[in-house]
């Protein structure tokens, strides 16, 4: 697993992907911070961070689009599969590499509450809680992206599938409200964003934390199944 992780993590920084993602995220974050905090003299960074979840719609697919599909396209999948390293190690290594880049990306935004703290005293507890939620939400999106990438050898298709999936996450709560009934309830199990709300209200909800971790585990598991199954079916 360590070998795969190291390779993938390095690959992120050898291609423009990591820089583009981190740069884009930091740019949007600073824009929101300047407009939403600095210019109006507001110290509420939690609000900014909640709004930044929209940036993840675009940034997550960029981070994960090539992560599995590239190996299929370039034939390097053979090396991974025919070595004694298991599919689980491969998927986990790749996921953790994406997660690490994501954490670095999110880490760059911590500068803003620090700037605010020079002039005032923001609630670090609230900000911390919101960061936990933000990272868990992002981790879930990444798991969706890794799964989507395992479905195809085309990066664009992989990115689009992830994009559609995440946008679906944004409308799911509205859908649940409209549909109602047992189907609505079933759909609400998929709602990632409703689990984010407690964190933005400074509540470290254990249920939500558990939910996100389960969500990631399930998606990584179906990624492994999808990788193995595809080799069963075609050449």
């Amino acid at each position: 697993m360590k070998a795969v992780f190291k390779r993938e993590f390095r690959a992120y920084f050898q291609s423009p992907i990591a820089y583009v993602a981190i740069g884009a995220f930091f740019f949007v974050a600073s824009l929101l911070y300047v407009i939403g905090n600095l210019l109006i003299g507001d110290g509420d960074f939690v609000n900014i961070l909640s709004n930044l979840t929209f940036a993840l719609i675009v940034i997550t697919p960029i981070l994960t689009m090539r992560i599995m599909s590239d190996d299929r396209k370039n034939g390097t999948e053979v090396l991974l599969v025919t070595s004694p390293t298991t599919t689980m190690e491969v998927v986990l290594g790749k996921y953790l590499a994406a997660l690490c880049v994501f954490l670095i990306m999110v880490g760059t935004s911590t500068i803003f509450p620090m700037i605010t703290s020079i002039y005032g005293s923001p609630s670090f507890a609230a900000i911390f809680s919101c960061y936990v939620g933000f990272i868990l939400l992002g981790a879930s999106y990444l798991a969706i992206g890794v799964f989507a990438s395992s479905l195809t050898e085309n990066q664009i298709v992989s990115a689009l599938v992830t994009l559609v999936f995440i946008i679906f996450m944004f409308v799911i709560d509205a859908l649940v409200a409209v549909i109602g009934g047992w189907f609505g309830t079933a759909l609400s199990w998929l709602s990632l964003l409703s689990r984010f709300d407690p964190f933005s209200l400074s509540v470290l909800s254990l249920t939500s934390i558990f939910y996100y971790i389960t969500f990631v585990a399930v998606f990584l598991f179906i990624t492994m199944v999808s990788m193995d199954r595809r080799r069963w079916k075609s050449n």
Binding site: N74, G75, T82, S83, N235
Partner: protein, 313 residues
Amino acid sequence: MIEISNLIKQYGDIHAVNGISFTVEDGEVLGFLGPNGAGKSTTMNILTGFIPYTSGEIRVNGHEIMEEPEAVKKMIGYLPEIPPLYMDMTVKEYLKFAAELKKIAKKDIPGQVAMAMDMLKITDHSHRLIRNLSKGYKQRVGFAQALLGNPEVLVLDEPTVGLDPNQILEIRKIIKKLGQKHTIILSTHIMQEVSAVCDRVVIINKGRIVAIDTPDNLSRHLSGTGSLSITVSGPEKSIIACIRAVEGVRSVRVGADRGENGKVYEVVSDGELDVRKSVSLALGKAGYPVTEMKATDKTLEQIFHELTTGGNK
């Protein structure tokens, strides 16, 4: 030792591999021959654990590939048809990564990487990006990858395809050298390669085995016929009639014209009968002098062609 028994791989209704069985002894170099699409790569992909089989059994030193995939994968080094290279890594980085994937003990990795690079003569290129290497060197890096960890079995899928003649010779030399210590299965459709490096040959066509033997035996016995090339001077028609009359001769064909020495006649006979004496006696009696006669064994190319197109004419 590798034992493959009754291996079947099905894609929907298509049998890519249809009941293949053979055994490879330790230290043997086995050539795997067949036209494109015969099922060579599929068999190799199954043997190395890349794709699963539909039914059958593959044992490497007693371990079944689907039951103990990790144990088997540790014993096999695989060079697929397209070398599995990461273009954004240098040669050394890539080999180190591959060694880690193969779970080679950390302290052995530098030694193994150096050994593999030395064997394939790529040490001078160790710090170059793989993207920038020529095709021949990319192939070598892929080959070096297969050697890491000193696996008992090497599976090489068309290792010399697309290389220039010098590189082909060099790769063959390496395969021969490796054959002294490793069990090797290599696929190819180049016949000289088989005679040059293989101890035994398996020819497959449409997913089935059509022949297993040593390269020499194949060219001698397989077709069940012998062939002669005779140069005789005299009138063509009566010479043909004269040869035809000899017992055991199947067909006569006129070949090149050798001027004063006469014409070349290609004679095909039933395998068991040696017709050389009776043919020369018959021609001598009829007054047509034989100026040259030689037995021509079939080339591997001819045998391959006959076996894989179903013809035996």
